[in-house]
């Protein structure tokens, strides 16, 4: 029914669509960033943020501010928005929104699991969890003493259970490096999310398809780049790549075999959209890659708002907010650490 979402979409999701676009207009603009960059102290930043959506959240913070406080409050804003929207969401939007947060959920589970296995205090760990990825039984994660038990007792009831059961065996649970486990789960999650979006069909499938394949390809790129020189073998590497995206499947062969940045680059440049990204980088220069990829992601996310009647705006809003929080963190850190020369290196202007 592509092209006819316009007729049905608003029955269930028109209101939230309006709401999320409203939230989107609350994102900081270039002018806001310019003002923030002029700040000399964290209190200045707070003052500058008073006029924005973050104002009410920061208003009652006592004066010796820390960057972590600012970031926490900003995250709280996103979480509040998100939970309100989630509460109002009808199916299948609700499920879609849940899918958006599974990524955080994976991070939280991994965090709690590692913490538990190292006998850390549960409350301390819960505080560190990303509030977007919370689920009801998360506190009970701490009862388990081994990974296998954890899966049997707790994870089986969470939405993540299929990812565990599909991609990890019982031995993996005990022995696998936690970082590899995280990425294996994330891969399963991305595949599932992409399949879910395809099932939704229409504009959502189209737009989300683009976003998710970018995400998948970026992960593939990062995994390759970060595993150069580590003990991760080619086959292990391949197992962490998602089963879709522009690089799938031929690009993955090349990536899996790549041994240095230039090989990765030549593998990626076979895809026209990525060629444009890589032309921004000099040869052998991988430091700036993160920022360039962030910029590309933000560009794509912003583009989703140009189209109406699809769910990707929710995903995009979450991602953009997160990017914005990262930006604020960067500015605050630069100000706090007196490194204002570097301030522009970290900001990805959203619009």
């Amino acid at each position: 029914m592509y092209g006819f979402e316009a007729l049905w979409f608003n029955i269930k999701d028109g209101y939230l669509d309006g709401v999320v676009r409203g939230h989107r207009s609350g994102l900081l603009t270039t002018a806001d960033y310019n003002n923030l960059c002029q700040c000399e102290t964290l209190d200045d930043i707070k003052l500058n943020l008073t006029g924005t959506d973050y104002g009410p959240y920061l208003a009652n913070e006592p004066s010796p501010l820390h960057t972590t406080t600012i970031v926490d409050r900003c995250t709280e804003k996103l979480v509040d928005d998100w939970n309100k929207m989630r509460a109002n969401a009808d199916e299948p939007l609700g499920e879609f929104m849940d899918y958006c947060t599974y990524g955080h959920m994976i991070d939280n589970v991994v965090l709690i699991v590692t913490g538990t296995l190292h006998e850390r205090d549960v409350h301390e760990l819960l505080e560190k969890c990303n509030p977007l990825g919370m689920f009801d039984s998360i506190a009970t994660l701490a009862v388990a003493s081994s990974m296998r038990e954890l899966y049997r007792l707790v994870l089986v009831d969470t939405p993540l259970a299929p990812y565990f059961s599909e991609s990890l065996s019982a031995e993996d649970l005990d022995e696998m490096n936690i970082e590899i486990m995280r990425n294996t789960l994330y891969k399963a999650y991305l595949d599932d999310f992409a399949a879910f979006c395809r099932r939704l069909g229409g504009a959502t499938a189209e737009v989300m398809g683009g976003l998710l394949s970018f995400e998948a390809d970026r992960r593939a790129l990062n995994i390759t780049l970060n595993s150069i020189g580590t003990e991760l073998t080619r086959d292990d590497r391949r197992k962490l790549y998602s089963n879709f995206g522009l690089l799938y499947p031929h690009g993955h062969h090349e990536l899996a075999a790549a041994e240095d940045f230039d090989q990765i680059r030549s593998a990626m440049e076979k895809c026209p959209p990525y060629q444009a990204i890589f032309t921004k980088l000099g040869f052998g220069e991988s430091q700036m890659l993160d920022k360039v990829l962030f910029e590309e992601e933000v560009r794509r996310l912003c583009d989703t708002f140009e189209q109406q009647f699809h769910y990707s705006v929710f995903f995009a809003y979450m991602r953009l907010r997160e990017q914005e929080i990262r930006n604020i963190m960067w500015i605050a850190e630069c100000v706090a650490q007196d490194q204002k020369i570097r301030i522009n290196d970290g900001i990805v202007y959203l619009f």
Partner: protein, 250 residues
């Protein structure tokens, strides 16, 4: 006069004291040299400490910023790092340097090569590059800090050593040597006194003897008539060396 050693003023003791004084003077000179050497090193270290501390400020700032960059790229990874600690791959070896007889501990960074794969894989999905960059920044910081630690322990040890040495030098300079000198002077004074007493006694004995001899001569003259030369010669025989050798004593 308490500023001297209590001793019997004899020539033997005097010789002993003189020997002690020479020793003290020599020791003083040596200690002075040592103190100078230590102070020289100390000054160098001081300069270096201040420099390194300031450099450390910079390095730590760079490290903190690299951490910010890593957080920016990789999200919150602190807990993962805290939880994946196993065995230290960076350790220090303590060695000892010898400066003018003072043992100064010196630290040296060693890489044990313990597996830290976990750290290598941190941020695998995103931001791993920045994490590794941050890791390197902190490695530099560790290196600098180890150096600083060496300097600092050296500073503390040297400070202590210099203090003791100086105390010794001062003790020699202000207490031992003057005391010895006083003692020697005292012994010499005493010995002189004894000498003078002896001389006076001898003089008295001489006078007495002369008186006795005069009376004897007078008596002989009274009895035998005056023989002036013979009497004088006899007297000279009785006190040999009184006239010629007077400067032997003094």
């Amino acid at each position: 006069m308490s500023n001297r050693y209590v001793c019997v003023p004899t020539v033997t003791v005097l010789a002993m004291m003189k020997a002690r004084l020479t020793g003290a003077v020599k020791g003083h000179a040596l200690l002075k040299k040592k103190a100078d050497a230590l102070t020289l090193r100390f000054r160098q270290i001081l300069k270096k400490i201040v420099q390194t501390k300031q450099e450390m400020g910079k390095t730590m700032r760079a490290g903190a910023f690299a951490l910010t960059e890593a957080k920016y790229a990789a999200g919150e990874f602190a807990t993962t790092v805290l939880d994946s600690v196993e065995s230290a791959s960076v350790r220090v070896n303590a060695q000892q340097d010898n400066v003018a007889g003072v043992k100064i501990p010196r630290f040296e960074r060693v890489m044990t090569g313990a597996s830290d794969t976990k750290m290598h894989l941190t941020g695998l999905g995103k931001g791993g590059q920045q994490v590794q960059y941050c890791r390197k920044a902190y490695m530099t910081a560790v290196e600098l800090l180890v150096e600083l630690a060496s300097l600092q322990t050296a500073f503390l040890t040297l400070d202590e050593a210099i203090k003791t040495t100086n105390r010794r030098v001062n003790a020699l300079d202000n207490v031992v040597i003057p005391k010895l000198e006083n003692t020697i002077a005292y012994i010499k004074g005493e010995l002189d006194e004894l000498e003078r007493e002896e001389f006076f006694r001898l003089k008295k004995v001489q006078a007495n003897k002369r008186k006795v001899a005069d009376e004897l001569v007078k008596r002989r003259l009274r009895e035998n008539g005056p023989t002036p030369n013979g009497a004088k010669g006899a007297l000279h025989d009785m006190m040999p060396g009184v006239d010629q050798d007077a400067d032997i004593v003094f």
